[in-house]
Symmetry: C2
Subunit: 406 residues, 2 copies
């Protein structure tokens, strides 16, 4: 139990700004149906204009706008009905002066016309004659052939995870395969002589099942990564070093949930240091102080505290942005949050980030306290409040931002 617990301690802000691996996953082509939340490696350009033809946005009649000027309820314009446009095909008639063509929403504007009058402002008073009671300007009631997206313009940007509507626009443009960054392969290594697999039926006194690996895998999945649970390594620096050496070549990120004792933490640091460069050992965060960030031959390694609660708090704040970054996304998508009134004072230390679990009750955020050894503190919470690094605490009654779990 040495007191030399930390090599270099950093703030969370320093870690987010400074520990930014250059590594990116390779680019692969995936079909649209598998592209949701994936990160395009380059912007995708429109091969042709959209919608591709001048298109009616209303049900009504294609006209020459000039033929409707001055039309009113009292003095309508009368136009000859020359035919009708059918959905999905080119018009078979054109609009000559004094004429009009019936148009469904989404139909192709016939030659000669420059506007569509809404059906609400028309009446077929005599068969074959349409009465127009309101004028329409050129361009009224339609969208231009390139008004949605011009040819060559970006359909979706690079580096931002694809959203549902992006997939719609890509489909509209006929882009059915997209080049995206591969899901980062995140290898999760658990350590600890006391840790046994979750499917262990009967425990010996002193053993605990591995809670952290399952929860970390879920956070990795939500961040677009591909988790691989690599099993449990005993508290032995040689064994950990051997495991790390084996998994590093197949990983884009390695996460070690360290043993919880000081000795185990020192051993993790020693094993990692033997394989690369420790960027920091110790983060100014509560809970989660004994966090390690390292680079092992281009693969980032995150060493997490032994308590599942602390490990998950740190991984959300520091690990999740790393997973997105490895896939080419600099700004992770937003998490749900809400505003609430803090029910009681929260003390903190200046320079340290405090993450406080809270329950929400009718707009009030009530801190859930308890040792960070208790995972139920986390599962009972609706979200968390951050006491930022410069603050020495938060006062009861202030409005706080609660990041919500989902």
């Amino acid at each position: 139990m040495s007191g030399r617990e930390f090599f270099t301690a950093r703030t969370v802000a320093e870690a987010l700004a400074g520990f930014r691996p250059a590594r990116r996953t390779p680019v692969q082509t995936v079909p649209l149906a598998a592209a949701l939340h994936r990160v395009p490696a380059a912007e995708v350009l429109a091969p042709a204009p959209l919608p591709g033809f001048t298109r009616s946005t209303v049900d009504g009649f294609a006209v020459r706008a000039a033929d409707t000027y001055g039309a009113s309820e009292g003095l309508p314009s009368y136009l000859d009905l020359l035919g009708a446009v059918r959905m999905g095909s080119a018009p078979e008639v054109s609009v000559s002066p004094g004429g009009c063509v019936a148009m469904p929403t989404g139909g192709v504007l016939p030659a000669g016309a420059d506007a569509v009058v809404m059906v609400e402002f028309t009446a077929e008073t005599m068969p074959g004659t349409i009465e127009v009671t309101r004028p329409v300007a050129p361009g009224g009631g339609l969208v231009r052939a390139d008004e949605d997206v011009p040819a060559g313009a970006a359909l979706v940007p690079a580096g931002r995870p694809l959203r549902a509507s992006d997939l719609g626009l890509l489909a509209a443009a006929g882009v059915t395969d997209v080049g995206v960054h591969a899901r980062p392969r995140v290898v999760i290594v658990s350590t600890g002589d006391e840790v046994v697999p979750p499917d262990t039926a009967e425990l010996v006194v002193g053993q605990v099942r591995d809670a952290t690996a399952s929860a970390l895998a879920a956070l990795v999945t939500d961040a677009g990564g591909e988790p691989r649970v690599a099993g449990i390594v005993p508290d032995d620096p040689g064994a950990l070093e051997t495991t790390l050496r084996a998994v590093l070549p197949t990983a884009d990120l390695v996460v070690v949930s360290a043993g919880s004792s000081v000795g185990a933490r020192d051993e993790t640091a020693a094993a990692v240091a033997a394989l690369g460069t420790v960027w920091c050992h110790g983060l100014a965060i509560k809970p989660g102080k004994p966090t390690l960030l390292a680079d092992c031959g281009g693969v980032p390694v995150v060493g997490l505290p032994g308590n599942p609660l602390s490990a998950l708090v740190v991984f959300r704040l520091v690990g999740v942005p790393l997973v997105w970054r490895l896939a080419g996304c600099a700004v992770p998508p937003p998490e749900p949050s809400t505003r609430a009134v803090l029910s009681r004072d929260l003390a903190s230390a200046a320079g340290r980030l405090d993450v406080v679990q809270v329950q929400l009750r009718e707009g009030v955020a009530e801190p859930v306290f308890g040792p960070s050894a208790l995972l139920s503190v986390l599962t009972r919470a609706d979200g968390y409040v951050v006491v930022p690094e410069p603050a020495t605490g938060l006062d009861a009654g202030v409005e706080v931002e609660v990041v919500l779990y989902r």
Copy 2:
């Protein structure tokens, strides 16, 4: 082009409160690794207490608390070091009066001890003798055997999608399979003579590729459903009725993205009415008015407007909660959102819900206007602002809640 466009129009609030199918998907057992965001059908109870033994939360020494009373820097207590607890196994020594045992964080409290003194308040001044400089109360430095979760208590509730931390707690309890509702099977039917599959290389003038189905499938996936794109049906009530009849037996929810003309919308309503009960045709929402909600033999059917933008706006508000509900989740998980200042006045009609796409620029929400025929209005937006039903508009400068796309 009949004017009889709507059977029964409703507000969105009425639809959310009143259109609540009783249908639930069956329960299936899935392994933990596949259970993220799935909805447990019943609460899962702890088969045994957690952590299962009295456990140290600090590195230090197990003691009888009484032996430390009155200890101070000036007048320490001196205790005999009787041995050490190893991680993951039962203690081999017990603590007798005047004695102590070295403890790692997470170790089992030895018999005879009732507290753990942190190593920071101790020193081994002579080999075999530990000096304690601060008193500890009984129960200090440890968690009880059932302090995380007592036996028989709920590990996770029914009806709330499982979160990362829930999976951790289930793993800790040795629960590696969970009974959850099956993913709702959502069949997506596109209609329209002008609509062709996204992989159509060359379009005839007047044709458009199906944008809506791909985007809807993505929203369904995000809501925990299993989308199935059933293809494109021409604007023909007989054809749509035949398709609906074929897909209903294999669906928990059917979504029809209707043709965009009034005629096509009427045909959708007629086909659905032939197979079940139309609950509403017409929603007081902009965009998205021509929305249809129906029940066809216990399977809810949502008829969406023909414009992709309108269809996606409505499906987010009305369809996504339905998908969650079918899986047994009454309150869908929160969406990301942020507060911003509205850049300009927004007009609306009382009784109608307006959904306005916005871009965010340094805390300002700038509406993205444009015909709802343009899908790019949606892809250029960062999120949307709702003008609620009772309001006649929102004033420039007010703070609004922006629901963010992700």
